[in-house]
Symmetry: D3
Subunit: 130 residues, 6 copies
């Protein structure tokens, strides 16, 4: 659907072009992924999203691999195919091993199950957690 036609790299101008270049440089990629092209119709949204993501996902108290795995875990839980695929890709590129991904998936599976067991039983919060 072309609610908003993706902005191709050749069409990018001004702020959009600058951000596209920064994304490619920072991510060490040659082509702009469809996500960024899709939101580029709204340069403010593109700028805000890129600046926030860049700041949030860099190494900190959590390294960037861990952050990507958390991002994937959320995306799986929200059933976002694009996000699951692209951030699993990013996690591996940054150094996540297959075993790390397997263990992340295990946690996502049991957490989703237990979240619902809690709801089913209307478990009251223990005082110690309040």
């Amino acid at each position: 659907m072309s609610i908003f036609k993706p902005i191709q790299e050749k069409q990018a101008k001004g702020k959009v072009k600058t951000i596209f270049n920064e994304i490619k440089k920072t991510r060490k990629i040659r082509k702009i992924p469809n996500f960024w092209k899709s939101i580029a119709h709204n340069p403010k949204l593109l700028e805000r999203t890129w600046n926030n993501l860049k700041e949030i996902m860099r190494d900190g108290a959590l390294n960037s691999v861990t952050k990507e795995l958390i991002y994937v875990a959320v995306s799986i839980t929200n059933s976002c195919d694009y996000c699951t695929r692209s951030h699993t890709f990013a996690a591996k590129k940054k150094g996540a091993t297959d075993q790390m991904i397997k263990e992340m998936i295990d946690v996502v599976g049991i957490a989703n199950q237990n979240n619902k067991l809690v709801e089913a039983h209307q478990v009251e919060v223990d005082k110690i957690y309040k």
Copy 2:
């Protein structure tokens, strides 16, 4: 609601008692949290859930702190209050710093936003991710 009255520690017998003791020992806690008491009406469910959780959450390619943070990220995304509180508590007990939790929350926030931006724009999966 008492669909199923929680099984108090004093009432626990047989398999339930054994698992309650193992939970307290493994987790280094004195009281059984309400979650386990709530599902203990169904000993098979208790046993299956505990055995799976114990196996999944221990140190592996991902350390157990990272696993707790992933668990919390899923629980926030699913709006499970009990799970968010209890596993944030567990993460801190296992050594997660405030800064680590802050950064996990930042990732959860932006992932939830971007998951929906992807949906809004019906972004097509890039070939490189397939």
Copy 3:
């Protein structure tokens, strides 16, 4: 919050009063539950919701106990506390045994887990299911 103050039984007039009476008679209850009082500020919504629910939840190819269990399964998955409690109550009143509820919860738990395992692995639909 009183976005819309619940309509108490004494205040009910006209169409609202008629529906309140029908709910009590059909459900064999003495007091109107808060859900119906809450949506009664909008008589059309009350009427539409009650008529649809009454038609949908009655015995058919599936008996009404099974329907209540399906309703609870959806409500757990959506984390709706009120709905989980009220329809578990209704299921029991209609004859659901504790064992039936336990088994429903087991299915809800594993389905929620497997739904996410499918997403995590981006499983392709088998030809036989298309």
Copy 4:
């Protein structure tokens, strides 16, 4: 995407092969569905998931057709296409009639609507349900 390449039946060895055979025998199917092939990269996950599913989905206080319908109701609510298709298929194979599936869908529709009406009105839980 081949985060983890599905394990084809010919490639299956050891525990994976044994479980694949058991799945085919229990389900009376000739080919292993993609779900099981996709998670077979992690034999423990495969074993745990199959053993739990087998135990949970068999006839009990609820018959296995009812359980499949509950499974589908959860999968629809979670927007899991694969799960919706494969378990609708399973439900029919086990004997669910078209009319039963229609009525299940009706319940899923109204439950999802009412879950949100409850949230919109912030309905308080009636004492009788506590």
Copy 5:
């Protein structure tokens, strides 16, 4: 999958045919969209859904463009691709400008993020909102 084969316009009879004609006339379209064909196997569901939708989506205190935008916002949040596409289409046909759609998407993005920040911090409801 053909759980229920969509009812094609040529096959439509009786109540289904009448509603199909009304949909085309009201919506000023020449072909019945797949959604309506898919649910037409269950004429009561078709009738109930169409009558409710028609009543709810017409101009009122909110104009029908605003209502379509709200509908899309919900559909994005629920990750319903079909609904996101078809109601964005409807919104534009009714007069929504690109700028209106962009701003709706911005709101959906930040709301989804803040909803989770609230959960992460277990924010207590201020007295003024109760």
Copy 6:
């Protein structure tokens, strides 16, 4: 739970104090709502969230009342009690009438139902929407 103790107004310093003042002035309120106090432990998150929200929610092609109603619709769909209450409050303060809120809720209800009917029937996207 005091994962992060809310920052009270008296305790606010530097950037946090500046933003708190701006929030009160812009919103014409005397007390800082709990949401802002809760995220103030992380000044960057506070600043980013406030700046984005302020920019997104102001009058544009959509007026700010409509934006608040869209925000509430998302919050209901995500079952965020705090967000549903606080933004319904905000919508009314900005001029949303009871009738507008009722109609928004009607749309949210039917959209949530139809989103799931689409999933249940695995409706294919019509060519015209692509």
